[in-house]
Symmetry: C2
Subunit: 144 residues, 2 copies
């Protein structure tokens, strides 16, 4: 997640450069740069969570603020803007008082949640293994 400030995140440049380097979308080998760029986009925890939450339906700002416990206004705002910028979610303002704004995942965004959820599923499926591995490793290390 990039800084707010004035001009929109000015340094998404690296990920962009990286994506450019790969050229076409045909068959993607294990290009390190691509992996990196993907993670830059959706790898941060709030993007993941928001994509996941919004996948179930439109939500308002404060609603998201409440539902994603631990997120700050700042990060929610920032993250939503980035997601909107990438065309993954839409922002709809209702001219009412008090103001109401709803965020919704775009069809494009839904194509993303698929692989993202696949990863989450992997994490869930192998949660136990990882935990065990860590314990074993830590214990072995502690025996020195």
């Amino acid at each position: 997640m990039r800084e707010p400030g004035r001009g929109v995140m000015s340094h998404q440049t690296e990920a962009d450069r990286v994506l450019r380097s790969l050229g076409h979308s045909a068959c993607i080998e294990h290009d390190p740069d691509v992996l990196r760029s993907v993670l830059d986009r959706v790898g941060d925890k709030w993007s993941l969570i928001l994509i996941g939450l919004l996948d179930k339906g439109p939500m308002r700002f404060t609603e998201l603020l409440r539902t994603a416990p631990g997120i700050s206004r700042r990060m929610l705002s920032l993250t939503l803007r980035n997601l909107e910028r990438d065309g993954l979610v839409t922002r709809k303002v209702f001219p009412e008082i008090p103001p109401r704004v709803e965020y919704e995942v775009t069809p494009f965004g839904r194509t993303l949640s698929e692989p993202v959820l696949a990863l989450a599923r992997w994490a869930a499926d192998h949660e136990g293994t990882i935990r065990a591995n860590r314990r074993a490793f830590d214990q072995a290390a502690g025996l020195d």
Copy 2:
């Protein structure tokens, strides 16, 4: 990438609850803490890059240092140790002079590269769309 040992899964219990809730569609109603920590691990750029690189075959330390674009010795060392700790890669030392160490993805690690590559594929497939979206968004914002 957190330092080995302690330090990671000690916070963000709230966000974890969220991940669980959003996981309704995918069976990820497991321990949110570990889930988060796993996603953190999987989510950081160097881990993914290394998993991707090593997926093609065993590699030596310096070899990885050269191949992974921009990684520092420190991060390579740290990341490899964490991957090893999670049982995703193995570290094999050859008693030679000069010393040689080879890292290799475990079968367990290979189950991870699958979803990872799915994500990478998504990035490749939608690279153009994202860049176009960003350009459009930035330009629209600049008209104010």
